[in-house]
């Protein structure tokens, strides 16, 4: 794999990626605000700062491809084309939610768009993605499946089982680790030995480290891995190094006994904002005329506004729905 020599994305693709990242950012920022009002029923885990990973990978996928996600799953959902309004309705527990209000933040899923779901079990999406990759292989349509997981999730044994199985069966599977420096409140190095991407190598599977704050870099390595997978050459592991700006879970400061990282570290990473970097690139590459930027901002703002407006007046699910959908 020679990802670095890959060409730049088409302007349309680049703009689309910028827009998706911005959408995720704004949707998550707003969610962070809402949490402080106490209106949200359950816990939320924001991915602000990590938007380049989901967007750079999902830019290569369409509705027929599969992704499995994590507890920090809003970005994946939106990057894969999930409906922002239905996501917010879900997080607010409304009947119009993408899961009818029965899943919540940690379970947003849209099977019609290949979104196998966020997951409350760390590592839980990995096996599911392996199965989707198996289905994709059997279908023979060139589909792929992607499992997103964190650096913490990389310590679940299922990841090794998945790499081994996918290697043996040459499954069209991408295992994308979002290494954001923390497994909950534990810095990665305190619980994770060595380099995560290297865990692929003993199985003859490529393990690639990429700057997870550089959406173009992510887009390049993911593109290469997706092409390989579609062609039948088997799985790859991508470790995207990034950082989460917000807490592990919103409002964590209210219950933690103390800090677990330096504010300075956060500031340093904020200076490496993936969105700002992409904006700079777009301008310098001339892919975007200045007004396009504003148009995108306006579009995103409108989407976000309506996503946080309509659902709030939607009804909660009817009582009987609590007893539906256990079985088909």
């Amino acid at each position: 794999m020679n990802a670095m020599s890959s060409p730049d994305p088409d302007p349309a693709v680049a703009l689309e990626m910028f827009q998706r990242m911005l959408l995720i950012r704004r949707m998550e920022e707003r969610l962070g605000e809402v949490v402080t009002t106490g209106e949200l029923p359950g816990p939320v885990h924001l991915c602000i700062g990590q938007e380049a990973v989901s967007v750079g990978v999902c830019a290569h996928l369409d509705d027929a491809d599969w992704i499995a996600s994590t507890h920090r799953g809003h970005g994946h959902f939106l990057a894969k084309g999930g409906d922002p309004e239905k996501m917010i309705a879900e997080i607010f527990g409304r009947e119009t939610g993408i899961c009818g209000g029965k899943g919540g933040s940690m379970h947003v899923a849209d099977f019609s768009r290949g979104i196998l779901g966020a997951n409350g079990i760390v590592g839980g999406g990995i096996g599911i993605a392996v199965g989707a990759a198996l289905a994709a292989q059997l279908d023979g349509q060139g589909r792929v499946a992607v499992a997103f997981f964190g650096d913490g999730g990389a310590n679940q044994g299922v990841i090794m089982e998945a790499i081994n199985l996918a290697a043996i069966w040459k499954l069209p599977l991408l295992l994308v680790c979002e290494n954001n420096g923390f497994s909950e409140f534990s810095p990665t190095s305190t619980v994770t030995a060595g380099e995560i991407a290297k865990r692929a190598e003993p199985f003859g599977v490529p393990g690639i480290v990429v700057d997870g704050n550089d959406v173009l870099a992510v887009w390049r390595v993911a593109g290469e891995a997706v092409r390989r997978a579609r062609s039948g050459a088997g799985p790859a592991v991508i470790e995207a190094r990034t950082y989460r700006w917000r807490g592990h879970v919103e409002t964590e400061k209210s219950f933690l006994s103390g800090p677990y990282r330096e504010d300075d570290e956060i500031r340093q990473w904020q200076a490496r904002d993936p969105l700002a970097a992409m904006e700079r690139w777009l301008v310098s590459a001339g892919a975007m005329d200045p007004s396009a930027l504003d148009r995108i901002r306006a579009t995103v703002a409108a989407t976000v506004d309506s996503a946080y407006t309509r659902p709030l007046s939607d009804a909660y699910p009817a009582g009987e729905s609590a007893f539906q959908h256990m079985f088909a």
Binding site: W66, A68, G103, H107, A109, F111, I168
Partner: protein
């Protein structure tokens, strides 16, 4: 009608369903050569794509079953011994049992996790568990336990066609026993109990390997003039409580024979249901004949002692007949 062993009946069910629907796939450890014989010949017939040996990786196996089913296949995931369900329990309990519900009914999960369960062959505690109580409590997993070759075939075919996760547990000791299996595409619907023997004196619900044991006990009791009604639930979740309740309303007495450990067993569940819904018809205490709360011992005499046998069923039936309503201790009044 053909005579065949339960293992052969299962093999037929798998073969027929794979032939019928090209989206049925099967994977598991050594399913090609087939330790038990139940998956023998399938790889040759349906190809290495649809029938796959897996590494010993139960965690990813159970999860991959969920993903492949969500993506449109009918997955048979062979777990070999039922104790290995524990090894792959995460995806069964946290994903398969909940994913449809959590996603508001977006998907169907046609999965059959199959395994051999129960003791009787000195395989030791880690190869002899009867794990259905844990599965029944998950709420999102159908649990099927056949007692005869015909039921095994018909239930497995129904399980494969079902759009939900099913755990199909073959009683180890019954795998080699012969039984009549009707020809053709027999389907035994899930959730429907079978009255294996009709009788008006006592209802005995027996599960899996215990059905034959109970039928033998019933023969013996019949010689004493006691007519036992033997009900095999066949599907433990969802359970056909209507059939059980109807029988108890008729007989007024219930014994449940279950190869699981006592506490929170299927026997406990059945007893609780009857004590709730047919209390007024009960003439005597509900008795459970189960494995006491121990791991399964290896040594043959111990294993034999621990597993319910014909005599323990006979004893329980006699006991329930000997105690009439209010014949025993009275309510303590203060």
């Amino acid at each position: 009608m053909k005579k065949m062993r339960m293992i052969q009946a299962i093999n037929e069910a798998l073969t027929e369903e794979m032939a019928r629907d090209s989206r049925v796939i099967l994977f598991g450890e050594d399913v090609k050569i087939s330790l038990f014989g139940d998956t023998r010949g399938l790889a040759d017939r349906f190809g290495e794509n649809r029938v796959r040996n897996t590494p010993i990786s139960e965690t990813v196996m159970t999860g991959a079953a969920v993903g492949a089913a969500a993506a449109g296949y009918r997955v048979v995931c062979h777990m070999m011994f039922a104790n290995f369900l524990y090894t792959g329990f995460d995806a069964i309990a946290n994903q398969a049992a909940k994913l449809r519900y959590m996603t508001g009914g977006q998907i169907r999960l046609p999965i059959v996790y199959m395994a051999v369960m129960g003791a009787g062959r000195s395989a030791g505690a880690q190869h002899s568990d009867v794990p259905y109580p844990a599965l029944m409590n998950l709420g999102g997993i159908k649990v099927v336990v056949p007692s005869t070759p015909a039921d095994a075939k018909g239930l497995l075919k129904a399980s494969i066609r079902d759009d939900n996760p099913v755990v199909f547990l073959q009683p180890a000791r019954r795998g080699g026993e012969q039984g009549d299996v009707p020809d053709g595409d027999i389907i035994v619907p899930l959730g429907v109990a079978d009255i294996k023997r009709a009788g008006g004196d006592v209802t005995v619900v027996a599960i899996g390997a215990m059905v034959r044991t109970t039928l033998r006990a019933a023969d013996q009791l019949a010689k004493e003039g006691v007519e036992v009604e033997v009900i095999d639930p066949r599907t433990l979740f969802p359970m056909d409580t209507a059939t059980i309740l109807a029988s108890v309303r008729k007989t007024g007495r219930l014994v449940v024979v279950d190869e699981a450990r006592t506490t929170c067993s299927a026997a406990s569940e059945i007893a609780a249901t009857v004590a709730e819904q047919a209390f007024d018809c009960l003439e005597a205490p509900i008795l459970r004949v189960t494995v006491r709360d121990v791991a399964m011992p290896y040594s043959p005499p111990l294993e034999k002692l621990v597993i319910p046998d014909e005599q323990s069923v006979v004893d329980a039936v006699r006991k329930t007949l000997s105690t009439g309503r209010r014949s025993g201790t009275q309510r303590v009044t203060q």
